[in-house]
């Protein structure tokens, strides 16, 4: 730990250098997609309280973070309940809080369809992976995927899968943070990106998994408490009758349609349309494909998979997914009520709606304005601070998993062939954390003007098409070989990225090519790229007649015994 002061000094210098260059960037470009609001000091001071609190936790965690195991998995001493909350904190992003409640405000039932997609992956994780991951792995999901295979190629694949998923997820979070801070705090875009980058580095660098876990737990509690209060206030105003809430929402939407010049019959139909499915699902293939990306992507997100190594055994791993599923499901019910609350309390109040009928600050402000409507200015500040804290918790988890992929999979296993000592590995993790933090800030600034809406679904599609097939086949299929896993995994990875680029949302909407020119007609690649991944693994495994393949297949029994019983598993806490 003597190196820390050195590292701190280097960091401060780097950060200072970076601030200068970021300011230059910001000066050149000042038009954002979100309108900058008046500086909100209540929100800023509440956020400051959160930051100070989490920095104290980081200081406490830093004292406990001595070995690589502490850094990656908090020494394996997290309980199932705590880990469940942390997983929920990792998963409930600001995009799902602000985005889904806004989607419900606009489309009603359609918003519910969207949120359900994000929930249904959890049982799959529970039934097929959670306890097997705990029994086979130590620090990263590559430990599991490479258990009986030739280490170098599988680790290189897993690290690629991890870093690509983390990069797209991270860009989405950083750009989201920048847009959000303009809305919520009334500060410049680049300030937000630098604050997020700097704080996440501090959390991960000094506090490792312990600090990251507690930041996620605190954030999950704050977000769930805030959202519960909002949903309660909405229902309270309708005497706890959802029928009364729905009826009022339909009335408001009908009134808006009438004001827009619709005939009474048309207006009534449009008002009632929020109670059933609308335009969210256009063609069944896109719907199924998108559903698969969400369902199986959850089981391939490296920062989520990594959380299963922080608990001491399979029992706690199972408990953690059950808690996570419960909290996340509850949260989506809350966002649904919040969305309807926004229709009845925000769309009807001229304080929040401009002359054209849009929300002040942009579409994603639904939940924020509702916070003001039901809880006044102080609660508005609270929710704004929580929304920003949410992004911090998610990026810290992402960075940690990216850093582990580099230090544990690439450095310790591929380069040092498993002979790296804990201290050296820890140092590489920390250097990678700094590197990832800087890259995230740069990407956040570069992508400021881009439409990044597709990036989270791309991250899910890649996770579903590359990480998930390799993980599932290596754990459950005896005849899977190194060659099959690596070739199939890369095929899934490459095909999901390529198909996303030539799909309408990216090719036409983001890259600006003419409508109808996209080569791939569907909104999500998962149905096809997952098939390519699985078929690739299967085909190249059964065709594999090498000596290594015989060794891979021969190792299955021992792997299976350990994955089923946990006997011989590295008790992460028992080191």
């Amino acid at each position: 730990m003597k190196r820390l002061p050195d590292l701190t000094r280097q960091l401060v210098t780097l950060a200072a250098l970076f601030c200068v260059s970021a300011a230059v960037w910001a000066a050149g470009a000042d038009l954002g997609q979100a309108d900058k609001q008046a500086t909100n000091w209540t929100a800023i001071s509440m956020f400051a309280v959160f930051v100070v609190g989490t920095l104290f936790i980081t200081k406490w965690a830093a004292a406990k973070t001595k070995s690589a195991a502490d850094f990656y998995t908090a020494g394996g001493g997290i309980t199932g309940f705590q880990n469940g909350l942390a997983i929920a904190g990792d998963y409930m992003s600001a995009a799902s809080f602000l985005g889904i409640s806004a989607a419900v405000m606009v489309g009603g039932f359609d918003g519910l369809i969207y949120s359900i997609g994000f929930l249904v992956g959890w049982p799959v994780v529970t039934f097929l992976l959670a306890e097997r991951l705990r029994n086979l792995g130590k620090f990263t999901f590559a430990d599991v995927a490479a258990f009986r295979f030739s280490q170098t190629p599988v680790r290189v694949f897993a690290a690629s899968g991890t870093l690509v998923v983390v990069a797209f997820y991270l860009i989405a979070q950083m750009v989201g943070a920048g847009q959000l801070i303009k809305l919520l705090f009334g500060l410049e875009y680049w300030i937000a990106v630098v604050i997020v980058g700097a704080l996440m580095m501090v959390y991960v660098l000094f506090g490792g998994m312990t600090a990251t876990t507690w930041v996620q737990i605190i954030k999950a509690c704050l977000l769930l408490a805030g959202a519960s209060f909002m949903a309660f206030m909405v229902l309270y105003n309708f005497g706890f009758s959802t029928e009364a809430m729905f009826a009022k929402a339909v009335e408001v939407k009908t009134g808006i349609a009438t004001a827009a010049g619709k005939t009474p019959a048309e207006a009534a139909a449009q008002g009632f349309s929020i109670m059933g499915p609308g335009g969210f699902i256009k063609d069944p293939i896109s719907a199924i494909s998108f559903g698969m990306a969400l369902m199986f992507g959850t089981a391939g997100l490296p920062h989520i998979l990594m959380r299963f190594f922080t608990v001491p055994n399979a029992k706690e791993a199972r408990k953690s997914v059950l808690w996570a599923t419960t909290w996340i499901g509850y949260f989506y019910v809350l966002t649904f009520i919040i969305g309807f609350g926004a229709i009845t309390f925000v769309l009807t109040n001229p304080q929040f709606v401009d002359a054209k009928g849009g929300l002040f600050g942009g579409g994603n402000m639904a939940a924020i304005h509702l916070a003001n409507a039901v809880g006044g200015n102080v609660f508005l500040g609270f929710i704004s601070a929580v929304a920003f804290a949410t992004i911090l918790a998610v990026v810290a988890g992402l960075t940690l998993s990216g850093a582990s992929a580099v230090s544990h999979d690439l450095y310790a296993t591929v380069i040092k062939k498993g002979h790296a000592d804990s201290a050296a590995e820890l140092k590489v993790s920390r250097l990678t954390t700094v590197g990832l933090g800087l890259v995230a800030v740069v990407l956040g600034v570069v992508f400021e003007k881009q439409n990044i809406a597709f990036m989270v679904s791309l991250a899910f599609a890649i996770a579903a098409s590359a990480n998930f097939p390799v993980l599932l086949m290596s754990v459950l299929w005896k005849d899977c070989t190194t060659r099959g896993a690596v070739i199939g995994g890369f095929l899934g990875l490459i095909s999901s990225v390529l198909l996303t680029i030539v799909s309408p949302p990216v090719w036409e909407a983001t890259l600006g090519n003419p409508k109808g020119s996209a080569l791939f007609p569907y909104a999500s690649p998962a149905l096809f790229s997952m098939t390519i991944g699985f078929v690739g693994i299967w085909l190249f495994s059964i065709l594999d007649r090498s000596a290594r393949a015989a060794q891979d297949r021969g190792g299955f029994l021992a792997q299976q015994v350990r994955s089923e019983t946990g006997i011989g598993a590295s008790g992460a806490s028992g080191h």
């Binding site: 029928e243 339909v250 109670m275 499915p277 369902m295 199972r318 408990k319 997914v321 019983t565």
Partner: protein, 102 residues
């Protein structure tokens, strides 16, 4: 893990029982989840008017309890698996470990 230990566990009938039971339950429940979710998605894709049917005289549609039902189902099905695994399967695992390591 030592090879003889692996062989001893693999040949234990209790291990065979654990493996078969867990994998059967896991895949059946995963299948149930997929049927419920993709059934819901196909309903949305092919029969929008059904989900927008009013229940009774109010504005609440049949889609609302169905949507909420999918969320509740997701949580309940996870709870069923975790409950069984944490009692029955863990007991079996402990017995296997005890017999293998004695």
């Amino acid at each position: 893990m030592a090879t003889d230990l692996t062989a001893r566990i693999a040949n234990n009938p209790k291990y065979q029982e654990l493996k078969a039971k867990r994998s059967r339950l896991g895949w059946w429940l995963a299948l149930a989840m997929m049927i419920v979710y993709y059934g819901f998605i196909l309903l949305v894709a092919f029969d929008k008017p059904f989900l927008a049917t009013r229940i009774g005289t109010g504005v609440t549609t049949i889609g609302m309890p169905i949507g909420l039902g999918v969320i509740v189902f997701t949580i309940v099905i996870t709870a069923i698996y975790v409950r069984r695994a944490n009692s029955e399967y863990d007991t079996l695992t402990e017995q296997i470990a005890k017999e293998a390591l004695k």
